[in-house]
């Protein structure tokens, strides 16, 4: 499949050098818009950067596919909740684009508590020829005003981002996902224990559709880790839990969806049971396929594909980095075992991609069952170079080009990535760097 992936440079200004990178620059989410023309990233500093794809040009055909910065804005600011004595980080947890409704673009961005709707729009005219001021801006003598002028003049294109709505005060716990409904009228926001449903135009009211908070918090055994709407059926959504199960709910059945209509769960293999079983089975991401037929879930070591019609076990299970199974103890000690990796489908649902450590990311072709490990790093990938598959060797003799498990860098992790909705272009966030790879052109 995409082993001959061509790497391209993205906007240089955004590739900041590791040495100068601060915590705030770490990318926390990546998302293409529904057409793939735009790509948005959010970072720990609360900023959103929107990239736009270069238009086709005769002079520089290879530039097609290159994404350049279109707009950068501060979406969230750090806040302090005085009632609970709690700091609210500005980190952008998720970005979701809305379907385009006019010449402007809209996206939802969220931190732990507040979802915001942003409008990114272009302006190319400005008012000119004031009546009270002359061309140099000097105030005119009122008695000399004998004619009235009212004019707009073309100017250089300016892209502005304006906050359109702020949806706040509805979440007691940390928001982990947002998902826009196919009715284009509502979206849901999910925290550790509850899911709320919002109308995109109403900010002062939301409806609670799932609440798993036990009456006594000491009885708490499970939290919600992610949730998503079915891409075409407005009444269906799924949410995943820290216990490795996925629940599918039907909003037609009742207003409060506490009773799921399907529960996807794989029985645990008793022979593999260990202290870490529960931690590594926690689902960090759940995604519907574009067709709506399949679900993909990511847990610590695997990525699984489920058929909506089969609840008892996954259709396919792919090992992401099985070689870490023997290292769980040290991964527990350095907290890496709690890392939340995301997973994505390609446009035709035939390939899936998810991240690993050492700036490695994995791709699995569902038809050929081939898989590949690739690396996103500045040292190994020059602009327009071809990505070489990487291999991790487990014990024994290490061959040339292979890397030993013990020398993996666990601080370089690829948690967030995105796949263009129709083409083979992927965006991979490696700490503070964003890499965009695409199929070799010609």
């Amino acid at each position: 499949m995409d082993e001959e992936i061509d790497t391209r440079k993205i906007n240089n200004s955004f590739l900041r050098d590791h040495n100068y990178a601060t915590e705030a620059d770490i990318i926390s989410t990546v998302e293409f818009n529904p057409t793939g023309e735009l790509l948005a990233t959010g970072d720990k500093g609360g900023r959103v950067v929107v990239f736009q794809r270069e238009q086709e040009s005769k002079n520089q055909p290879h530039r097609r596919g290159e994404y350049n910065v279109y707009s950068t804005f501060q979406s969230h600011e750090p806040e302090f909740d005085y009632l609970k004595s709690l700091e609210i980080e500005e980190k952008i947890n998720k970005i979701r684009w809305l379907p385009q409704q006019n010449a402007a673009y809209f996206l939802l961005s969220t931190n732990d508590k507040t979802v915001k709707l942003w409008k990114v729009s272009e302006r190319d005219k400005r008012p000119e020829g004031y009546n009270l001021k002359d061309e140099e801006g000097r105030i005119r003598d009122p008695t000399t005003i004998t004619a009235l002028r009212i004019l707009l003049q073309p100017m250089d294109l300016m892209v502005e981002a304006t906050p359109r709505r702020v949806f706040s005060n509805a979440h007691t716990y940390h928001i982990n996902s947002i998902s826009v409904n196919s009715d284009y009228e509502t979206y849901m926001s999910t925290d550790d224990l509850r899911i709320n449903l919002w109308n995109l135009e109403i900010t002062n009211r939301s409806f609670n559709i799932v609440d798993i908070k036990p009456a006594n918090m000491e009885m708490l055994t499970e939290v919600i880790t992610a949730a998503e709407f079915q891409p075409s059926q407005c009444n269906t959504f799924v949410y995943s839990s820290s216990k490795g199960s996925i629940r599918l709910c039907d909003m037609r059945a009742s207003a409060l969806c506490d009773n799921h209509s399907k529960l996807f769960e794989e029985p645990e293999d008793p022979s593999n049971r260990s202290f870490f079983s529960e931690i590594i089975s926690s689902i960090s991401d759940v995604k519907f396929s574009h067709s709506g037929r399949y679900l993909m879930t990511r847990d610590y070591l695997t990525v699984k594909v489920w058929d909506l019609n089969m609840e008892s076990k996954p259709l396919e299970t792919y090992q992401v980095h099985d070689y870490l199974r023997s290292k769980l103890c040290s991964l527990y000690e350095n907290d890496c075992i709690f890392d939340k990796f995301e997973c994505v489908w390609n446009g035709s649902d035939s390939v899936i991609m998810t991240g690993s450590y050492n700036n490695f990311f994995r791709m699995f072709d569902r038809n050929t069952k081939r898989d590949v490990t690739l690396e996103a790093s500045r040292e190994n990938s020059k602009p327009r170079a071809i990505l070489k598959p990487r291999k991790v060797c487990v014990g024994g003799k290490r061959r040339k080009d292979e890397i030993s498990v013990d020398s993996l860098d666990f601080s370089k992790k690829i948690l967030h990535s995105a796949w263009h909705p129709s083409e083979n272009i992927i965006a991979v966030a490696a700490t503070n760097n964003l890499y965009i790879f695409q199929d070799k052109v010609n």
Binding site: Q101, L148, C234, A255
Partner: protein
């Protein structure tokens, strides 16, 4: 002559300046200034004259759609009243370009306002202009790239359809049909919500051939939000069709909606039930809607049950007279009985707000036999809102069977609400006291409720004490001054010696509101001495309230009492050490003109 024209010329020059300010402010950085200026748009247009308004102002406005929503909203509204300012109906089409761009912005309120203004000015177009200018705009919007423009188009078809030629009519129908099957749910929703309105202006044949098929398609749309809007359209369509066509053209869809898999659609059916009932007529109601209504009352989703419960009274009232009682007794009552013990308090409280209304429909005997037990059960409900809803509707029962039947259960319910831990519940019951007093009569009231009313005067929440004083006034208006003198006044005045200064102040507040209702005699003889005595209170708050009370009851007193009793006390308070006491005493002296 010469001189006057010179003056008007100078005036003309001067008057340009304020307009120049307004025009510049249209482009100011400050939103508020822009907003102010846009609200005076007609002044600007007037100053520019019709010609320049058309050639300069309108093109400028067409380009301002980058502005804030509130500015755009004001603009969209203004343009609806702009016809004269562009030169009258002859030139009204000049307003279309700015409104067209406003009809495509993403903010729904702005778009809706632009559509509203477009609908308004469509009436000012001549039939020719409508076809030459307006209809092409509708077409452009209807085939726009973005769904915002297509949703706006949905609201414009019905205003131009009746006034265009038959070829254009055919085009409009075609456009509407296309939008009903648009790719995006927003456009289908907009089309569904305008379906009824559009059907009304269509020729009946086209209603049958076009609208029904669109209606059926929208009512089985995959999106819940579209299907539920089709229910609304059902009302208008059903009222357009002759009775004999309803069964085949509308009822299958309505039946399907009432049993839709999605509770939101069923909720919509329940919510629109009375309108549907009127639209389909008595025969279909008897055969179809009664069982459908029963199902909605038994729905598995509480939201649906409570929407249906709210409609019980209206539904029963609108049943055909000949079979009304039979239908209620055999079909509806059993459902109502179940709802009384529903698991959801929202359902019970929705029921409680209408259930009393059934007694007037069913008459005395049925009420005593069947409804009374239900009222009593609801009066004992654990949820205060349910009890309150029953109590607030006692008047309907009173007319039919008299309230005495209920009093045995009523009293404990009232007492319990009166002592509820939530002050808002206490407040709500206080507000029903005058009504209850009127229905129960003075004897019953004195015996059972009087103590409650007095107890509220010393409630620890101010809002309750305030409501309680107001309540006393209303009671006195009902039962008369003599009753007040015997039962209320002594108790109120007794509180003047209470060790708690808040209670002493309550005495003053009561006097404020009672004096007028009690009249001069009681006020002078009984209340005034107490007020005057309180002017020596050690708490300043009490003293300045004495001054305020004296100001309040002054007009009720005769001038003798004012001069000999009130005046000296106010004069003394006017020299009080406390600033507020001084102020209010002086204020009272001034108002009562005692200086």
């Amino acid at each position: 002559m010469n001189q006057s024209s010179f003056i008007s010329g100078a005036d003309g020059d001067d008057s340009l300046y304020p307009i120049a300010v307004l025009i510049d402010e249209l482009r100011n950085e400050d939103v508020q200034l822009r907003l102010n200026s846009i609200k005076k748009l007609s002044t600007i247009a007037l100053a520019l004259g019709v010609e320049r308004t058309r050639t300069e102002l309108l093109p400028f406005l067409t380009d301002t759609i980058y502005d804030e929503d509130e500015v755009l909203l004001a603009l969209a509204e203004q343009l609806g009243n702009f016809t004269m300012l562009v030169g009258g109906p002859e030139y009204v089409h000049c307003l279309l370009p700015p409104l067209e761009s406003l009809a495509t912005v993403e903010e729904t309120v702005v778009r809706d306002k632009a559509v509203e203004s477009l609908r308004k000015i469509s009436q000012e177009h001549s039939p020719v202009d409508l076809e030459v200018h307006f209809e092409p705009l509708v077409k452009r919007l209807a085939s726009g790239d973005w769904f915002t423009s297509r949703t706006s188009a949905c609201g414009l078809f019905s205003v131009c359809y009746p006034r265009v030629s038959s070829t254009v009519k055919a085009e409009i129908r075609q456009h509407f049909r296309t939008l009903c099957s648009d790719d995006t749910p927003m456009v289908r929703r907009a089309a569904a919500s305008k379906l009824g309105e559009f059907a009304k202006v269509l020729e009946l044949d086209y209603v049958k051939s076009d609208i029904i098929s669109l209606f059926t398609a929208l009512a089985s749309d995959e999106q819940d939000s579209v299907r539920l809007l089709a229910v609304e359209a059902c009302v208008s369509i059903a009222s357009l069709l002759p009775q004999e066509d309803l069964e085949t053209l509308v009822m299958p869809t309505l039946r399907q909606a009432a049993e839709d898999k999605s509770w939101r659609v069923r909720y919509m059916v329940a919510d629109k039930f009375s309108e549907l009932q009127k639209a389909v007529g008595p025969e279909i109601t008897k055969n179809d809607l009664v069982p459908a209504f029963q199902n909605l009352l038994k729905d598995c989703e509480a939201e649906v049950r409570s929407a249906a419960a709210k409609k019980i009274k209206e539904f029963c009232e609108n049943l055909p007279e000949d079979s009304r009682e039979t239908i209620i007794m055999t079909h509806i009552l059993s459902c109502v009985k179940e709802l009384v013990s529903d698991t959801s308090q929202h359902v019970k409280s929705a029921l409680a707000s209408v259930i009393m209304g059934l007694s007037t429909i069913l008459g005395k005997d049925n009420t005593v036999e069947h409804l009374l037990p239900l009222f009593l059960a609801q009066l004992k409900d654990e949820c205060p809102e349910v009890r309150l809803n029953i109590i607030s509707n006692l008047d309907c029962v009173n007319e039919v069977i008299g309230i005495r039947q209920l009093s045995q259960s009523l009293l404990p319910a009232i007492v319990e609400l009166a002592e509820d831990a939530k002050w808002r519940v206490r407040l709500a019951i206080i507000e029903y006291m005058p009504l209850l007093a009127g229905q129960l009569g003075v004897e019953f009231f004195d015996e059972k409720l009087n103590t409650l009313c007095m107890a509220w005067l010393i409630d620890h929440v101010y809002a309750i004490r305030e409501a309680a004083t107001c309540n006393l006034m209303k009671l006195v208006e009902k039962f008369g001054a003599e009753w007040a003198q015997n039962t209320i006044v002594p108790k109120v005045l007794g509180m003047a010696n209470d060790p708690n200064y808040l209670h002493r102040m309550t005495t003053l507040f009561c006097i404020n509101s009672l004096s007028e209702a009690c009249g001069q005699d009681i006020t002078t003889k009984h209340m005034l001495p107490v007020v005057l005595k309180m002017s020596n209170d050690q708490v300043a708050n009490v003293r300045f309230n004495v001054a305020k009370s004296l100001q309040k009851i002054g007009p009720v007193l005769d001038s003798n009492a004012l001069q000999t009793e009130v005046k000296p006390v106010l004069e003394k308070l006017a020299t009080d050490t406390d600033m507020d006491v001084k102020y209010f005493a002086q204020e009272a002296i001034r108002v009562l003109a005692l200086a």
